[in-house]
Symmetry: C2
Subunit: 148 residues, 2 copies
């Protein structure tokens, strides 16, 4: 069991994981044209403040998340860490993979000197809210989205 | 009335605006040492996907926000736009400056081809929720924060 930075060859498997539990829009097809996804992967990969991580177990990718470090003026010019697209393979639920991934995300955010880790999670995902609360997250904000 | 990208010399005025209505931590002092804030401003300024904007009226900065473009794998590798640190000078409330700034943010996000504009706003800021709902934002997510 270990965390590593994703590489380009992981993109098809990442898309499977992401498609597995999309709650809202179903605009993604893991069996479709990879070109736009590879371009996005490259954009993330090229940014030193933005990384896709995968969690491997017995040589198989069973979890993933994206971690982004964001500069801001508030908090004495402090950096925030933002977590997106957290997924665990359905077959591996209940094995604390999410906990371990988030523990790593928090550890990396501390190492970067961030003052906060932030994320938004769909209001329908009640299990996710409990999960993040257990990790110490506080649901202090409304997560507002405007589709373009 | 016009929007422009902030420059380094705007940092003291930006800190005044940000300090004016900080709801939570009061770790910022607009009259303190500028060094960490200038470093943060430079980090934002150096990132082509991250910009601080100011709104001027009669040569005075009366509003600001930070706009960040974020790549992701979801939505066919689409980019999201994130708005942070939106402030309007108290003396200029009710003059639609917030509306005009957000209209510009949405316009820039569309021009960049983003599929979504996202932000989080403290659950205590009920006026802000109404404001963003009027602009079409949906409070579909919990905004979860972990202070480090």
């Amino acid at each position: 069991m270990s965390l590593r930075e994703a590489v380009r060859d992981d993109v098809p498997r990442l898309l499977q994981l992401l498609a597995e539990d999309q709650i809202s829009d179903q605009r993604d097809d893991p069996n479709g044209d990879l070109t736009p996804y590879l371009a996005a992967f490259d954009a993330i990969d090229a940014d030193p403040n933005n990384t896709t991580y995968v969690w491997e177990q017995d040589g198989e990718i069973v979890g993933c998340f994206q971690l982004t470090f964001l500069p801001g003026l508030l908090q004495r010019g402090g950096w925030r860490a933002q977590v997106e697209s957290v997924r665990t393979d359905r077959r591996f639920r209940g094995r604390k993979i999410g906990e371990q991934m988030m523990a790593e995300a928090v550890k990396m955010s501390r190492a970067r000197g961030c003052w906060q880790v932030q994320l938004t999670t769909n209001k329908d995902r009640r299990d996710a809210h409990r999960f993040y609360r257990r990790l110490g997250f506080v649901a202090s904000h409304e997560g507002m989205k405007l589709k373009l």
